[in-house]
């Protein structure tokens, strides 16, 4: 895989094609992605967008406590990579992980309920926003210490290599992670051992509150490090669900063929601050507005129209997803708070917490 051009090219194509919808519609049958998958991507984008917006609303109503790191703006990365996965592949993500957990198929009430500290939450309230996990969906954890989960994802890939299962581990992290030691340890060992793991950097330009460029020696925090581990530099438009999907397919094929890891940098932007506490005041005027023009959700709506997909179908999915979010919100609100018995459960495999006899 060679270095990929950045956003502008794909965007230009989409804009140009908008003027001649009918011609584009005719070529739909030959499209490498196809309508069925595109609608899956669309649904996934919307599920993430609407659940995250709902999470924000629930914060304002003080129904979600603690902190939370929304992925508004990052939807295409999660939708593209997850849609290209096989069911038994494994996802590892960070504390900004609602989108990746949802994209693997975890329920909305599981996510919202966990954020609200309710019994219906994925972790019954024991983990909270930063630790969403659904092993049955291959969502193998959200890790809240920067860098930790790269070696862990690499270890899971070791299992699939050892047992020849063909499973791929996909590990998502932010641009800030590329400056911590665990990133480099994991990349090196995964490359030496040729493990089936795909490392995905969501470069949203800021490590927490600081511009990544101010604290990083290279322009592309992940892409420019790839060469150190014998890997090609891959930098893509992370706001284009199609481009993400295609890149994911290539990386998974490489991993399954036994050709080792990939490191992919997705350029994207978070529409809100780093966390609940951050209004994002450090961003220069106009930056957010410029990125909102590349918002992955309306952009994909236009893409679907370009491919001649009926507006009713496009809007119908949107309405259905909104309805699901409403239902999930009601289920979560109605769900009881967790039983206090959970406090003394599940430290050990026997279900208990005893440290003495």
């Amino acid at each position: 895989m060679a270095s990929k051009p950045k956003a502008a090219k794909g965007e230009g194509r989409a804009k140009a094609s908008r003027k001649k919808t009918s011609a584009k519609a005719k070529s739909l049958a030959n499209d490498d992605i196809g309508e069925e998958t595109r609608l899956k991507l669309w649904r996934s984008l919307l599920e993430i967008r609407h659940v995250e917006q709902r999470a924000y609303d629930l914060f304002l109503q003080n129904l979600i406590k603690g902190t939370s790191h929304l992925a508004l703006g990052h939807e295409a990365v999660a939708a593209g990579f997850a849609t290209a996965m096989e069911k038994d592949d494994w996802t590892f993500c960070t504390y900004r992980g609602h989108h990746h957990t949802l994209a693997r198929g975890a329920s909305m009430e599981g996510v919202l309920g966990e954020l609200m500290g309710r019994e219906c939450g994925l972790l019954q309230g024991k983990g909270g926003s930063m630790h969403l996990t659904s092993v049955e969906h291959g969502a193998m954890g959200s890790y809240a210490i920067i860098g930790a989960h790269l070696p862990i994802a690499m270890g899971a890939a070791w299992t699939s290599q050892y047992k020849s299962t063909g499973q791929v581990s996909v590990c998502f992290f932010g641009d800030g992670t590329t400056n911590i030691g665990a990133f480099h340890e994991a990349l090196n060992m995964a490359a030496v051992w040729k493990l089936p793991v795909v490392f995905v950097c969501e470069n949203n330009l800021y490590m927490e509150y600081t511009p990544i460029g101010d604290v990083t020696a290279v322009e592309n925090p992940a892409g420019d490090r790839a060469g150190s581990y014998g890997l090609p530099k891959i930098v893509i438009d992370g706001n284009d669900a199609d481009e993400v999907y295609r890149t994911a397919q290539e990386a998974y094929a490489k991993a399954r063929a036994g050709d080792g890891p990939s490191l992919i940098e997705c350029l994207t932007y978070r529409h809100s601050g780093h966390s609940r506490a951050d209004p994002g005041d450090y961003r220069p005027p106009g930056e957010l507005e410029a990125w909102l023009k590349k918002d992955p959700v309306p952009r994909y709506r236009d893409r679907l129209a370009d491919f001649g997909i009926d507006k009713k179908v496009i809007d119908g999915i949107d309405e259905k997803v909104m309805q699901q979010v409403e239902e999930a919100t009601e289920i979560s609100k109605a769900s009881p708070t967790p039983s206090l018995e959970l406090i003394e459960k599940d430290v050990w495999a026997d279900g208990g917490v005893a440290w003495r006899n």
Partner: protein
Amino acid sequence: MAELTYREAVAEGIAQEMRRDEDVVFLGEDIGAAGGVFKATVGLLKEFGPVRVRDTPISEQAILGAAMGSAMTGLKPIAEIMFSDFLAVCWDIVANEIAKARYMTGGQMSMPLVIRTANGGGSRFGAQHSQSVENWAMMVPGLKVVAPSTPADVKGLLAAAIRDPDPVMFFEQKSLYPIKGEVPDGELVDELGTAKVLRDGDDVTICALAAMVPRAIQAAEILSSEHGIEATVVDLRSLVPLDTKTILRETAKTGRLVTVEENPRLCGWGAEVASIVADENFWDLDGPVIRITTPHIPLPAADELEDATMPSADRIVREVSEKID
């Protein structure tokens, strides 16, 4: 019965489990081709091959991350951290990740892994290669903590640790690697969380761990022959789970408790044992608990300094004979 060294018992324990279970894999720095820097893993690469016995780069976070990721997806890894001091560079994976994953996920994840490491002083290595850090692990909910003192216990407890479904920190005391001891023939699997009474006496109960156990036994013999004090010696073997039944029973019997630990003074495991005994055996005690520890200093390197710092048999004899009449 065969006579094995403590280091040979390590390799025997690992080999026994790798032979019976294909899911057991082993990784670490210099463990394969080199046979381990302490020669505790000699022969494993030859018998099990490079797919199951994997030499790694100097990347402790990658080693333990690989152990965690593989354990939660179906393997039973044994990871070596060459010196326990190096746990400080990968403590995130131990304390934040491995220890908490099952609890935080409401039981969705299992973590059947063992972290072996060479722990403790007595080898003149200085303060960054000699620490006794089993108490670090003891403080973190979600970790089992084992520290054997004999070759037989190394083999049996290591096998038990590998079979255990929870993460086990296995602390081998590096100055004990050359010692020899009888190890039963055939498959040997011990039980975690069980202390052993190694000597019976009516006057005082000495609880010790790892390299402090032979010193406590030696001290007990001197106390008997020179001071007429008869000591019970308990080898704790495991800090988590902690065999408090044995500790409380043996302390109630003599009415006096002495803990002997390599840890620096503050928050060593002896403090926890003393607290439990004070809470639950107070009315059986005939005098204050005696804690014998390394002073609260980094361990010095030179022979004379290190010997004067770590608890010795002589120091145990002196402190016990002065405080118990």
